[in-house]
Subunit: 339 residues, 2 copies
C-alpha cells in the first residue's frame, strides 16, 4: 500500500488565495483494479486557469468542490501497472493534480518519450501552454508576414511561445512583461521589441514599438495593458483571449469610468475580432501539427523557454499565489518528486 | 441651369444633433461634363452611421468636414445625361446625400429596375441595411437550425431583416424593440419572441424567451440591452457588431462600475466571438447571393419590412435626431421629391 499526500481546496479564495484556502492530507491508496496504474508525481504544473476553478462562478470548466484535490497537469512515473498501456518505470503525462501519488485508469495518461525533451517541458512549451499559444495564435490570430503581434506576460509559457511563433511566421513580435530581468530575457528570445509594463513610459514605449499599429494582440492578462493596447489596434485586428490573469482575484467590478462602451466602439469602428478560447477546442484539429512543429522548433533553437521550478508540493499554494501576482519568471512547475 | 438645395454640416454635434448643427443652402449646379448625369433626389436614406461621420473621431469612414453636404444614400431620377450608362427618366441608386439635386459621374450610380420593388426599398431591405443584416448574420453569426438569434432595434431595417433571415435559416428569432406598437409588429413579422426593452420585466422576459440561451446576438444598439444579453449568451456564441446607436451621442465614458472586465471574462469563459464589421467588407463576396435571395424572400412574403417615410428635406435634421433616440418605427426615409 502506498500513501499519497495531497493538497485539497479548504475554502474558496476571496480575492488572492491564502494558505487557509488549502489543507494538506495524507491517505492510503487502495490496491489497483484492472486497467489502472499507480503514479508517482515528478512535476506538477501550476497555471492561472486553476484560480477560476477554485471559484464557484460558472466558467469553461466545472468548479472544484471544497475538499477536492486541487487540479493540475503532472508528469509522473508509473510505479505499478495493471494496464497493457504502461509498464513500471514509464514516464507519463497525466492530470493528477496537487498530490504525490494517485491511481488512474489507462484512459487518463499518455506515455512520454523521456529522451525527447526535458520532462518538465511537457507541462510548458510542449504541453498545454505551448499548445494554447500555437492554436490561438495560428487559428484566431492568423499573423501575416510583416504584421505586428503583441503579447503580455511574454516570458510566461504561453506568451513566450506566442511571440516566437509569430516571428517564425514572419511577423514582428512585441513582448510585454514586468521588470528588467524579464525584458532582458525577451530580447534574448528574439522579440523585436521588449517592453516593461511597470515603466512610467509604457504607453509611450508601446506606441514606439507599434508605429504601424498592432494587428494581433494575444490576450492573456487583461487590465491596464489591454487598455493601452486597444487604441493601438489596427483595422481588422484579431484578439485571441485565452486568459485574464490580472482580474482572476477580483472580487467585484472595478469602479468607473465604464470602459465597455469604448471597447465596443473600437470593435465597431475597427472591425475587430475578439475571440475567447480554451485550447481543447482545437486539440483534435491541430495536435498533429503541434507535435510536428513545436518539438522541432525547440530542438532547432527557434523557440527557447524559461522555467521557474519550485521544490516541494508544500510550496505549491504560495507559489501559485505569487504567480497570480506576476511574481514568477517563466513556466511555474513544482518538483514534487525526483526524476 | 438647375438649383440644388442642400443641408450642410454647420458644426459637429455635441451629444444629440440639434438644428444649429445644420444649415440649408441653395446653389446653382454647373453644366454637365462628359460622363456625368444630373440627378433629382426622390428618396434619401437616414441611417445611424451618419452620426459617426459628423464627429471628428477616427472611425471606419473619414469624418465629414464642416460645410460638407451631409452624406446619405439616395434613390434619384436622371434629369439629364452625358453618359451612355443612363437616360433621362432612369431611376438610379446613388450616394448624393442631403440635397435635392446633384451632378455625379457615371461611376457613382447604379440603374434600378423601377418595377422590381417599391423605390424606397432600395434604401432599406434591398439596400445597405438589408445587406448589413444578410452579410453580418450569415458570415459572422452563422445561425444553425434550432439555435436562438437575438437582435435589438428589431423593427429597424437591419434588425427586422436579421430576425426574419434567422428564421429562414431555421433558427429561433428573439426581437427586442421599444414600445407596444413595435412589439406587435415583430409578432406579425414572425419573430418567435418579441420583447419590449422598456418594460420593467425586460430582463425576466429575455430569460423566458431564451431558455436555452442565446447563440447569436446581432449587436446594433449597445448599452442596456447588451448588458442583459451578455449573461444569456451560450458557449461559442457569436456577436456580429454593426452598430451601437445607443452610444453615438455619448460625450464621455459613462460612470462606473467598469463593465469591461465582466465582458472580457464572458469572452474567455464562454469562448465568445465578437466581431465588428461594416457591410462593404463583404460586398464583393456576397452581393450576388444577396440579390438572388433577398428580393425573392421579399416577393414571397418571407421577409416583410416597415418604413417610416417623412416628407420634405427640411425635416431631415429633426427626423435624424429622433431616430437616434429610437423614436422612429421602421426604415427612416425622407421623401425629397415626387416619384
Amino acid at each position: 500500500m502506498t500513501d499519497s499526500t495531497r493538497i485539497a481546496l479548504a475554502s474558496r479564495p476571496h480575492g488572492e488565495p491564502t494558505a487557509d484556502d488549502f489543507r494538506t492530507e495524507t491517505r492510503t491508496l487502495p490496491a489497483l483494479a484492472d486497467g489502472q496504474v499507480l503514479l508517482r508525481t515528478i512535476y506538477l504544473s501550476l497555471d492561472p486557469y486553476m484560480r477560476g476553478r477554485m471559484s464557484d462562478a460558472k466558467s469553461y470548466a466545472e468548479p472544484m468542490e471544497i475538499g477536492d484535490t486541487v487540479v493540475g497537469g503532472t508528469v509522473c512515473e508509473v510505479m505499478e501497472s495493471r494496464s497493457d498501456r504502461a509498464q513500471p518505470g514509464d514516464i507519463v503525462l497525466a492530470y493528477t493534480g496537487w498530490q504525490t501519488h494517485d491511481i488512474v485508469s489507462e484512459r487518463h495518461f499518455r506515455v512520454l518519450d523521456p529522451d525527447a525533451a526535458p520532462l518538465s517541458a511537457w507541462l510548458g512549451v510542449l504541453g498545454m501552454p505551448g499548445f494554447t499559444a500555437y492554436a490561438g495564435l495560428l487559428k484566431i490570430g492568423r499573423p501575416q508576414p510583416g504584421e505586428t503581434v503583441a503579447v503580455a506576460a511574454a516570458t510566461g509559457p504561453v506568451g513566450s511561445a506566442v511571440g516566437q511563433i509569430a516571428r517564425i511566421k514572419g511577423a514582428r513580435a512585441v513582448g510585454i512583461a514586468g521588470g528588467n530581468q524579464k525584458v532582458e530575457w525577451l530580447r534574448e528570445a528574439g522579440f523585436d521589441a521588449a517592453l516593461d509594463h511597470r515603466s512610467p513610459s509604457f504607453a509611450h514605449d508601446l506606441a514606439d514599438a507599434s508605429e504601424d499599429g498592432i494587428d494581433v494582440y494575444f490576450e492573456n492578462v487583461g487590465g491596464a495593458v489591454w487598455n493601452e493596447v486597444l487604441p493601438r489596434l489596427n483595422k481588422f485586428a484579431r484578439v485571441p483571449v485565452c486568459g485574464l490573469v490580472s482580474q482572476y482575484n477580483a472580487t467585484s467590478a472595478p469602479t468607473g469610468p465604464d470602459l465597455q462602451p469604448r471597447l465596443m466602439s473600437a470593435v465597431l469602428t475597427k472591425s475587430l475580432l475578439i475571440r475567447g478560447f480554451i485550447q481543447d477546442e482545437f486539440w483534435q484539429e491541430m495536435r498533429e501539427d503541434f507535435f510536428r512543429d513545436m518539438p522541432a522548433w525547440v530542438r532547432d533553437g527557434k523557440i527557447i523557454y524559461q522555467e521557474d521550478i519550485v521544490d516541494g508540493l508544500e510550496n505549491a499554494p504560495a507559489a501559485f499565489a505569487n504567480m497570480l501576482r506576476g511574481g514568477n519568471f517563466g513556466k511555474l512547475v513544482i518538483r514534487v518528486g525526483e526524476e
